[in-house]
Symmetry: none
Amino acid sequence: METRDDGAPRRGRPRSEEAHDAILAASLALIREVGFDAVAMDAIAARAGVGKATVYRRWKSKELLVVEAIGRIVRAVPDPDTGSTEDDLMVLMNATLRMYADPATSALLSGLVAAMARSEPIARAVRGGFVGMRREALRRVLRRGIDRGDLRGDTDLELALDLLSGPMLYRYLISGEAVDERLARGSVHAVLRAFAQDRSTEGPNLEVVR
Amino acid sequence: METRDDGAPRRGRPRSEEAHDAILAASLALIREVGFDAVAMDAIAARAGVGKATVYRRWKSKELLVVEAIGRIVRAVPDPDTGSTEDDLMVLMNATLRMYADPATSALLSGLVAAMARSEPIARAVRGGFVGMRREALRRVLRRGIDRGDLRGDTDLELALDLLSGPMLYRYLISGEAVDERLARGSVHAVLRAFAQDRSTEGPNLEVVR
Amino acid sequence: METRDDGAPRRGRPRSEEAHDAILAASLALIREVGFDAVAMDAIAARAGVGKATVYRRWKSKELLVVEAIGRIVRAVPDPDTGSTEDDLMVLMNATLRMYADPATSALLSGLVAAMARSEPIARAVRGGFVGMRREALRRVLRRGIDRGDLRGDTDLELALDLLSGPMLYRYLISGEAVDERLARGSVHAVLRAFAQDRSTEGPNLEVVR
Amino acid sequence: METRDDGAPRRGRPRSEEAHDAILAASLALIREVGFDAVAMDAIAARAGVGKATVYRRWKSKELLVVEAIGRIVRAVPDPDTGSTEDDLMVLMNATLRMYADPATSALLSGLVAAMARSEPIARAVRGGFVGMRREALRRVLRRGIDRGDLRGDTDLELALDLLSGPMLYRYLISGEAVDERLARGSVHAVLRAFAQDRSTEGPNLEVVR
DNA sequence: TCCTAAGCGAGACGGTACGTCCAGTCTTCGT
DNA sequence: ACGAAGACTGGACGTACCGTCTCGCTTAGGA
C-alpha cells in the first residue's frame, strides 16, 4: 500500500507508525460501533487523533482503508493435515464459522461485499486477502483428498470450493438463518459424497471417508 | 406496502397510482443508469415528475423504495414439472442464471445485500420477495424428487437449497468468477449425488457416512 | 372579501360561518403563539378543524388571511372631542400605545410590515383597515385644532400625522426603545409647537425657526 | 462576527477571505435581483462558487448573512458641520432620503424589519450597524445645535431623533406615500420649531403650547 | 322527491428551500 | 516532508411549507 521501494532518498519527516496503527484501530472500532458504511472519515481521523490528510496519504479511499482494517481481524488461517479429509475440512469450516459468529467481523461482511462490487481494486484486495487465504487452504485439503483417493481425480475443485463456501455466505447474507456447525458439516458431507470415488468399481468409498 | 384493509373509511385524497408507478419506474431506470447507491431521491422524484414528499410518503427511505423497485423486475418464477428432477432443477437454475446475467439485476445485487444487512425491514422485504419465491420453487421440485425416489426421504431440504443457491451467490459476490451453466449444472449434480438414494442398500446412508 | 352582490341566485351549500370564525380565531391564536411568519396554513386549518381548501376559498393567501385576522383585534378607534386639541390627541395616542403594548398585536406588526412590502393588496388592506381608521381619527382632531386656532391654517396635515405616528413606529421597529407615554406626549407637544399659531403676529415663521 | 481574539493559536486552514467576500457579494447581488426573502442559500452559495457548508460556517442563518450583506451597502455616513443646524440636518436627511430612493436598499428594508423582530441578534446587528451610525451623526448635529443656542438645553434628544427618522420610516413602510425632500424638510423644521429657544421670554414653553 | 351545485374535512400533489452531513481535497501551522 | 487541524467544493439527505387538487360526504335551492 505505502511501499517505497523506489530507492528514492526519502526526505523529510518519516511517516508515523503510531498514526498508521491508530487509524486502523479507530477504523475497526468505529466499524464495530456504527457499521461498515456509516463510518465517516472525519470520525476515523478524529478518533485516531489524526488529520484527514494523514489518512488519505496512506489509503486512497475509505473503502480501501476499511478493507485493510478488516484484514487485520483475520490473520491466520489454519492448514490442517489430520489424515482425514473430512476432519481437515471441518477444521477450516469451523474457523470460518467463528468468523461469521464474531460480531466484529460479520457486521462488515455485507458492506464489504457492496464495496467489492463498486470497486474492482477493493474486490482484488479482498480476494487476495483473507478470502484467498481461506480458499487456498481449502484447496490444499481437497487436493490431498484426491491424492488420498477420497475424492475422484476429476473433481471440479472450484465447484467444490464454492459448494463449501457458498452456502454459509448465502445463509448469512440472504436467508438470515443460522450459520452453524450443522450447515458446515452438511456442506462437507455433501461435497465428499458428490465427489466420492464410485463405490462399485473402486470399492466402497464410504469406508474410506472415515 | 401501504395496504389499508383495516375497514377504516379512508378519508382525504387517495394516493395517486400514477405517481406510485412513475416513482417505481423512475427508480428502476435510474438504478440501471447509475447503480444502486448512486441513485438520488431528488433525481427519482424529478424523473418521476413528482415531489420528494410524495416519494417519502410512500417509502420511509431510499432503500425501501429501491427494494420494491427491484422486486418489480423479477415477477414470475417458473414452476417446472418435467418428470426429471434434474431437468426441473436446471429450469430454475437457468432462470436464476439469467438474473445474474442481466446487467439490470446483477448491478443491484451487492447493494441490495448491503441494504439488507443495514436494515431488517429491507431484509424481510427481500426475503419475502423474489428470494422467497425462487426458494419456494426449488423446494417444490426437491420435494417431488423425494416423492419420486430420486432423493432420500431424510434429505435436509434447507441444506440442499443452500447448496444450490449459495455457490452462484458466492461466485458473483466474492470470487468474481463466471456464474454460468457449468456452475449451475455442477451444483445440481452435486446435490443429486449427495442426497441420492443409496443404490446398493436401502439402509440410511448417514449411518454409513459416519 | 367574499362579497356576492352580483345578484346571482347563489346555489349550492352556503359557506359555513362557524368555519370562517374558527379560521380567524385559529389564525390569531397561532400568530400569538409562534409569530407572524412562522404560522403555517396547515396548522391554522388543523387548529380550526377545517380543510385547507376551506381556508383558501375565503382568503387568497396566508397574508391576506392574517391581515384580516389582525384587523379583528383592533376594532374601535376613539373619536374624542374634549375641547382641548392636546387632550384629544393624547386620547388617540394612548389607544395606539395600548396596541403597541399588547403582545398580541405588537408581535404581528413587523411581519405585517414585511407583508405589506411584498404585496400591494396587503398594503392596501392594511392602509384601508385599522391604520386608515387611526389616521382618519387623528386627522379629524387636527382639523378641529385648526378650526379652533390651536394650529395654523396652513398646517401640513400629512406631515403632522407622520410626526405623530412615525416616532412610535420607529422606536418599536428599529431602535427597540420604549414606546411609552413620554414618547407619545413628546410627539404631541412637538407637533403642537411646530404648527402653533405664531403668538406675536402673523409674521413669517421661518425667521423664527432659524 | 467570527473574531478570534482569544489568544488561542488558531490551528487548521484559515477561512478563506475570497469565499467570505464572494458570499457577501453574491448575497447582495441576489437580494437586489429577487428581494430580501426570496433569496435562497443554495443560490447564494452557487453564485459565490462556494459550498453551502462554507456559508453556514460563517453565518448561522440566512438572515444573519443578509444583515451583514446589507451592512456593506451603507458604509459612510456624512458628518456635516456647516454652521447651520438646519443645513447640517438636511445633509443627513438627504443621505437617508437617497437610501430610501435607492431600489437596492429600499427593497430590503421591510424584510429587514421583519427579521429584526424575529431575531434579537439581527436586531442588535442592525442597530449597531448603519442605523446606529446615522443616529449618532444626527445626535452630534443636534448637540451642536444646542451648543449654538438653536435648540433649548433641555431638548429631549431621543425624541428629536425619532421625530426626524420616524416619519420617513412610517411613510415608507405604512402609508406608502412619497419619502421626499418635502417630508425631510418638514420634519427638520418641525423639530427646530418644537425645540427652539423661546425668543420672547425665558418662560417654560409648555405653558405656551397649552 | 330528486337533482345539482357548492361547500365541507381530510389529506395527497408538485415545487422549492431549508440546514445537516460526508467524501475527498487543499491550506495553514508547527515538528 | 511529515504531522494535526480544519476549511474547501460539491452534492444528497430528509423535513417543512405553500397553494392546488381530489376524494367521499353534506347541505341547500330549484325542478
